[in-house]
Symmetry: D2
Subunit: 284 residues, 4 copies
């Protein structure tokens, strides 16, 4: 399964023959499909599909695949993305003071759980600069205040451009990005330390303790204008009891946070996530 592949993520208004049309495109050019999954959202009247096939033996050169597929997509009013497994995406990890999600992502990259380069780290604190150094990642300490936020976001956007970043991962970055930033760079995954939509915003563990819940959670989602309200990619939970203090919730939550974030990042990097409206289709 390690031979190079191309992947199409397609969404379009539902109609007859869509599976056939997509599959015929691959087959006509002698592609060998290794993953095909489709979903129809009947409420939205949308067809959503993921197709992955081996490049070896495909009779279109890489650069001709997109133009050729565009001709099929246009009459279907489809929006689509084309990805090549040979193109390794570039991630920027943003952190504040906590290192558990950061170290976990780096370990998984080293363990080849996903294919990505991590050339850049950005933080509003200096605390994790040493971790960056240890793993040979460029580190920028950009403290954010009310006053300098716009200015710092301009620098951050410039860094993302300079480092050719494809995806920003907010690995416990405790600052809110502006709507302007997000519209300039919309590919951002955040881990929120609660079972959204419960406890959106600040101090979720404190509030979970206050409420006396018996289960806590973590949520990985794409970042949108509205705080903690973007499309959810993955969630998970763990049981707590009356014996657990807020400190215990924080400790238990860390295990959730790193696993949930890692799953979401891995799904995204393997082009398994299709966003539509405020929802995701996760082709597992």
């Amino acid at each position: 399964m390690t031979s190079p592949t191309a992947t199409l993520l397609v969404s379009c208004p539902d109609q007859r023959g869509l599976v056939a049309k997509l599959a015929n495109f691959i087959y006509a050019h002698h592609g060998n499909i290794i993953h095909a999954d489709h979903h129809t959202d009947f409420t939205a009247g949308l067809f959503l599909s993921r197709l992955e096939w081996q490049i070896d033996g495909f009779d279109l050169p890489r650069e001709e695949i997109a133009p050729a597929f565009a001709e099929i997509a246009e009459p279907l009013q489809a929006t689509w993305q084309l990805h090549f497994s040979a193109t390794v995406p570039r991630i920027a990890i943003w952190v504040s003071r906590q290192d558990h999600c950061l170290l976990d992502l780096i370990w998984r990259q080293h363990a080849k759980e996903f294919a990505a380069q991590i050339p850049l780290m950005i933080s509003n604190h200096a605390a994790l600069g040493d971790v960056a150094k240890q793993f040979g990642i460029d580190f920028y300490h950009l403290p954010v205040t009310k006053e300098n936020k716009l200015e710092q976001e301009a620098k951050q956007l410039e860094l993302l451009r300079q480092y050719k970043i494809d995806l920003v991962v907010l690995a416990k970055y405790m600052q809110i990005l502006s709507g302007n930033f997000i519209s300039n760079f919309p590919q951002i995954i955040n881990i929120h330390h609660s079972f959204l939509p419960a406890f959106a915003g600040a101090n979720p563990y404190e509030r979970a303790y206050e409420r006396g819940v018996k289960i806590i959670g973590a949520t990985a989602h794409y970042v949108t204008d509205e705080l903690d309200a973007g499309p959810i990619i993955e969630q998970d939970v763990v049981r707590v009891s009356h014996r657990d203090t807020t400190g215990d919730l924080i400790r238990k939550g860390k295990d959730l946070e790193r696993v949930v974030l890692a799953r979401a990042v891995r799904l995204h990097l393997r082009n398994r996530v299709l966003v539509y409206g405020n929802r995701t289709v996760v082709f597992e």
Copy 2:
């Protein structure tokens, strides 16, 4: 373990010697403790304890236990409850149209998963009258409107008195009880079909679908003045995916609802739940 027992649920300001004082009370009267569990909430400065012992061989007659313990409890400023396993509690089950929680509770009573009598059902719909009849439970159809709510609640309270009800279980009863009702009869367990505090209020499954969550839940809690905000007894969750429609969430949720409600009712009936503030200690 089937010999009759007495159970004390105690909470008081924390201080040295509490475990010793409680255990000595039982031991001094030759009681054999079969369950002892304690919890200290250091934030609240509260000690909470559950003690269960066999009545056989205990040298105080039943009616003298409470007065004797009161003398110990008073200097500790303790609030406490005393229960006897030989006294079978009486439940009223309130329903609307859905039968899954109702049938589940009745089945568990028959299977002896908990000891309780169910002499009374109350509903704002006639739909489940036949189930009541089948199992020999008295059924009162009390439709509720804005206009007659006070009047119906008066009748409901009268029925609870008349049937000597110890616990009301809202098994998908889709009406909100007034603050007045609750202060007159505070022993009420409700099942809410969401992972509280997410999706409190109406239509939680519809809203969970809208939000695109990847996990749904159910919550059993004591009813208080504030809607869906009472002390939580038990919660559980189940994974959903983009393939699940609102109808699928409702179907999957039913399995959660009946299990979560049944666990909460069983815990309550076995005197395993101690409420303080808006929290519960569950002595499992």
Copy 3:
């Protein structure tokens, strides 16, 4: 989604163009696909697929679909099944003394969680005859001993034929079926009260208690010659602690058993399960 559908379950050696060929068959006859899912087992070199489409507008009459598809399937060396949603399958439920899985299945049928008729119950005990009566299901009490087993199995097979049964559900039927029986009627789903392959065979809860496990499970599987070794459809687990006696494991296990069995039966009845070798593909 309630308009009638046809479903194809197909497995064949993997090769290029399979998704296209299957989808083209539906599209060529103007079928509207509402579910298409495919899986390739690269180790086994097998392609497995499920296609469901609406019959309305399909330009082949029902009885011509199978012959038409056979022509496509043959050169692919495919094995396949064709099901129509309009044909409601007929289930026989086999029980011993425990009623929880039985009542659960009946309740789900009434709640329309799956479409099936349940005309027949078979038991080696008389205990649940009244349940059968209550729900208008024919009940046969066929006690099994070493001596009469062959004879009783002959009667059982005759009943399955007579009642035109499509699926046997062993809902805690505590007898082992002979290889001969199974080869004569291979469509059998069993619920085993352990997390297989742990604790296959008798008394799994007692053995789980002995072993001191911290989690127990239940497994729904197709029945094969080898005891508790058939293809697994669904499993689930629940946490236990040192406080749980064998009786508690049995009680907690019942909740697992009925949910796991119900999920498996529902998946099977909706033609979501494809068996190959000793494995299942579950198209969810």
Copy 4:
């Protein structure tokens, strides 16, 4: 809660007055109990208890606590352990080639999830020597063959003595320890990469794949003479599907292994685990 504490773990034949006797011992010396939990195994006729109290204000000097408690324990035929939170236990981590459990334990130690020193690593491979170096842990590469096993175990035991090790953690150490080794050093926790007793022994993920299970697990247990049969401390599971290859099971399993092992080590180090027979009481 950070003031120093003493902890008693006690087990003895069940009789009246045990909770009182234990609590009175603490109270008589002015100890403030911060955790008291008891369990009675009625089948075994055993009472098991954990008591933790603050040293500050306790009127017995540390060295006199054990002799004083021995006088209480003897007539009860109790076996017991006494631990002081001020005495930080010393761990040796044993590994082979995989680093995920190792790095996880080291990270948790740094994050202060448990209090322990890790002065020693032993491995049958050289692969993880660099990790040891990075964190300032002494590393011994002791390759094991059939021929040199006895000799190497003698060296290993000598190292445990030399480093004053309290607990050996087998963090994916892929060698079997001899009965002789275990009887010389019985405090060993192992992580097994299956849901025991399923798939004890070699290659559990391969065998789980072969069997077609829908859920995989991991088990942390004390090591005994019989392979993978020692008292279980903690287990957890994760769902898998037909899409998961053996490689996916291994990847998903790693997340389980590190969490389950870490929970078990943390419980042990906080003196929350009491072994009796082949079972554990986990005082959480």
